[in-house]
């Protein structure tokens, strides 16, 4: 009987240990700085994996969004901007890669800055 108890305790301990091992604390976070000179209202990451919005005021020039957890490590970024005649959607092209898509490192906390809006 004691043997069974010991085996049960060992198995239970193993399950708990394995469970702790499986917990992933590698949260990937992303934040944005608006350095474009114009307000940016909404930012959408990877088809809606994460969104940033700041009420009706948007993110003013030089404002930083809060850092948010993302699940997708690869995706494109779109943002909404008031162009006067109404709100339009723009694609963010990353200067270093010249691409509309970007890859994040798993578990990293990355910050991107939007430096210009054209036209």
């Amino acid at each position: 009987m004691t043997q069974y108890r010991i085996i049960t305790i060992i198995i239970a301990s193993l399950i708990v240990t394995a469970g702790i091992g499986c917990t992933n604390d590698d949260t990937t976070e992303l934040a944005w700085i608006n350095d474009a000179g114009n307000p940016i209202n909404d930012i959408i990451w990877a088809d809606g994996d994460q969104t940033w919005a700041n009420g009706t005021t948007g993110y003013a020039d030089q404002a930083q969004t809060e850092s948010k957890k993302v699940n997708a490590l690869y995706g494109s970024v779109i943002a909404s901007i008031d162009v006067g005649s109404g709100f339009q959607e723009g694609t963010v092209i990353i200067g270093e890669t010249g691409s509309g898509s970007l890859s994040l490192h798993d578990g990293s906390s990355e910050v991107y800055t939007i430096i210009s809006v054209t036209p």
Partner: protein, 252 residues
Amino acid sequence: MKQYQTIVLVLTVCLIGIGTTLLQASDFIWQQISGNWSVVTDNKESYLKENRSKAFNFDYSPLINCNTIISTNSAIVFTTVTHTLTLDAPQGTATYLTFFNASDYRQFYAVQFTGNDSCITTISIIQSDIKDTTLPKQAKGNFIITTLASSDVHLAYGQPYTLAITINNTSIAVLVDNKQVLSHTLNEKLEGGSIGFASKNCIPIIDNCKVYNGSTIVFEDDFSKESIRKIILKGKKLTPQEIEVQKKKQNK
């Protein structure tokens, strides 16, 4: 004498420069509001296509909630708008609009196609308007869409149709392949505005867009060249050092 020659030369160069700038500015006859529209040219022909299908509910206007392009000419008065249309790759509820008389992104009329996974099931004439004019334009969801007329249809995906929208005073008619499918009498005479195309949950292919006022063509595009202006935001990844500097700035 040499001075005059130099002045004439400088003026000529300036005029050429201004002319080129104006020509470049007028190259864009469409403005992309949302989505990923492009002119596609294959071996046989060229056409307009929206490539993303999925649209995002920014909710500032019905047009930004779809994938939309709008004419840069904002004063198109017409009696007939016609173009070919193929809808492809439906996902869930597919929606397509040819809109006209748009004074802004929330005020317009449109002919709307809606469909399920297997076929296009409804054609409607709709009107979009601002819900509460006292609210700022940043207010989300501040628009109202009214269905003015609607008809059940059974149109196939992947097949080209010719859509024609005709206006005669206040009467509006919708024709598909020269057959009238819908008509309605509006409460107002249309005074003109922008035209455009919008879609979500499907891939529209559009070609041979012609807009007539009487027998005169007032606007046309055969989509033989790229003529879409798009907003581009340039971004840059911050280095760990730059992130630290930014953190210090924020904490000040």
